[in-house]
Amino acid sequence: MFQDKVLKKVTIHFAGDSGDGIQLTGSQFTNTTAKYGNDLSTFPDFPAEIRAPIGTIAGVSGFQIHFGSVEIDTPGAEADVLVAMNAAAFSKNFINLKKGGTLIANEAGFDKRNLKLAGLDESHNPLDEIPEADFEVHRIDISKINREALKEFDLGMKEKDRSKNMFALGFVYWLYHREPKGTIEFLKAKFSKNPEVLKANIAALNAGFHYGETIEAITRYKVEKANLEAGTYRNIIGNQALSLGLITAAKKSNLQAFFAGYPITPASDILHFLSRHKNFGIKTFQAEDEIAAITAAIGGSFAGSLGITATSGPGMALKGEALGLALMLEIPLVIVNVQRGGPSTGLPTKTEQADLMQAIFGRNGESPIPVIAANSPSDCFDTAFEAVKIAVEHMTPVILLSDGYIANGAEPWKFPSSSEYKEIKPHYTEAKEGEYLPYQRDENLVRTWALPGQEGLEHRVGGLEKADKTGNVSYDPDNHQNMVKTRAAKVAKIANSYPDLEFIQGDENDDLLVVGWGSTRGSIKVAVRWAREQGLKVAQLHLKHLFPFHNELQNVLEKFETVIVPELNNGQLSKLIQQEFCKEVKPLNKIKGLPFKAQEIFDKIIEESHD
């Protein structure tokens, strides 16, 4: 007999060789779980090398999903379940399995060869040494059983083995009372041209599902639907949401989107996504380098399109000079930086928030450019929309910071209808023929946009300092000072259009404030919730606008004696706040290429509360 156990939330970590189809397995489990009605959050963790040496620790690909019947804000820290397809996957991740957790191990991945590749002692199978009292271990010779299940198929051994991830997925589905139906539909679409492979994959999935019933005295788990707000949901990945936000904003501005990009991890998916949607009239351009990508986008904006480019840290460094040009031209432009571990090439597939200073200051001269940051996969949509809105309505380049964690992470999204978004109004000129002054400004110090092709508005722009109003080249000392101050004042005024600054938890009467920005929102939220459940008076504030800061920020900060600033860098927002407001804060810095665990932030809250 099977026993059913009800859980509120579970974290499962799928791990295997990069060739094992782990990302696909994880995303299938995610889609099924999302559709079932759980709240969830995911985190893929894959090697930088496309084909890292098979069986080694460097080649381990992982996918973690945290799902529950309660609110889920992070992909979870320690795993309740570890699915390890080989010894390397086990060796890398076992340490992260909770005491009392479940290990599902593919026995075939623990032979001498695999142990050696994983750098383990060949004479000891580590599975033999796991204390039975502490863990629930399922040792399954997946490869063997799967081959057996597929013996009638006209496929080579290698091809049969390739479906063993489906066996593992089937077993996990059974364990968690999930229907494999959605995955079967997915497989049908994926292998429509290869019926034998399709049948084999479905057979493997079913074999895994039925395998559960053949083992005795096993506990199955139930995770009930979450109490999500009523509405229609979909599962969304950060880079997708960002692309959708860009498309929506272009439409709402009545502008053609012109996207120019150069392939770079982890931003390339934005280029991929947009280039697949040409029927929305989006023009995409794969440039020869990062500099050409941003300058082509500038050319697009000069022509009257919405110029957009996306990159990551190293590419951002290359775009610096062109960013300066865009701010001198005062034309709309959106630059997305999906941050990764730096400096230099750094950790391409790992996450970090260390490009904040670069975004705000990384150019020659006095060069203010607004900077906003997305804080969750679905929030990438609204943030992209807002970046476009600021760029278009304030005639300025805007830097949007995302990072590898939310770019690749997923969550259920109660997606909006495009009608909920207001029109964005480009700043076209009404000047008559011959009287156009390109650098004439309105009350927000915003200039107008005259487009090549418009009669009588011919004018020249460029990177040289320009005279007020006419935009002609000027080397006049007073003019330069005036223009520098004007450009700064223009960007400062953008803060007047921000929505109110709202606490995510707590309020200004609390004792301690945790201030974050970007992708750390979920982990901070959990940590602050735990602290509040323990009776501590802790509030949470999360900044979307990093430059210029919200007008109310200083007032809010002043209300708290203790302010903790957790960041995945060496203290960049901390320094900015201290410098801007002379307000001392307590930095919490993690620079491991990994997101925060809620526990780490919680510990810091406790530490600062006792002082």
Binding site: K35, T232, R234, F258, K283, E288, G299, R460, G463
Partner: protein, 339 residues
Amino acid sequence: MTESTKLSAKDFSTDQDVRWCPGCGDYSILKQMQTVLPELGIERKNLVFISGIGCSSRFPYYMNSYGMHSIHGRAPAIASGLKAANPDLSVWIITGDGDGLSIGGNQLIHALRRNFDVNILLFNNEIYGLTKGQYSPTSELGKTTKSSPLGSIDHPFNPLALALGAEATFVARSVDRDPLHLREVLKRANEHKGTSFVEIYQNCNVFNDGAFELWTDKKQKALSSIKLNHGEPLVFANGSLGLKLNGTKPELVKLEEGQDTSDLWIHDENDAVKANLLSRFFDKYLSEESFPRPFGILYSEERFTYEAAMAEQIENARKLKGDGDLDALIQGSNSWVVD
């Protein structure tokens, strides 16, 4: 009637003081551009000049049209974005040997292979003028300059061979001192559907005076240069010399007066192999065996433009999938309802 049929050269000049050194070859190029424009039938509103950095890159400020004086070397990329976004514009890229061949080399070669319908005018003065006289990527070997007091040890580029190697569809050469020829080449560049690459020898009388004297000096140019005309035999030195092809090997031929020239090398702009041979006529000094430097259109080829291909893909995507439905896209294919 279009606006431009009524315009004159003056209509294309701005109120900005032209700031090149007196005597600079740039003046002539500006003048030929302004003179030829009224004949091209381009409305001013559709005319855009994009430049990088350097003496030549001041050009857009002096043209009464749309213009951008951008950053060093990037004009081809900016122009690519501009043309992709609005294919109706007539786009002219103004660059120099430092801007286009040194810092902006990558942008230049990729613009050439993509073949947007734009015109690239590379003002070659074989020196860095704006930074006051360092050797450039086209300066000759051994050139003494501020940054090469013992002579340059950089082997120079051959710009037309480079352009052909980068799959350019229109490759031409002219010179500031030959206004008629320059205007003719500009006209042809404008007519060409695709990226036109025009190298213009431009005298920098301050830092590199006389760099092109061999081809502009009345006494020398007859022997040192040859004008290319499509369908006509390669004859120069006032009709006293011709060129012949022996297989793929060019040979000099002495011509008598009235001699039949039909077995000479007949210039064919559409012949890529011959264009490559011509681009290698790159002797810097005159001798008995040296080949003349060719001026005119070396190569011209019809190839689809990038913007046309881009429009076609969008058109096809629309036919195949219909006009994008934004809300359907936001919803995706896998949504569910929570009551």
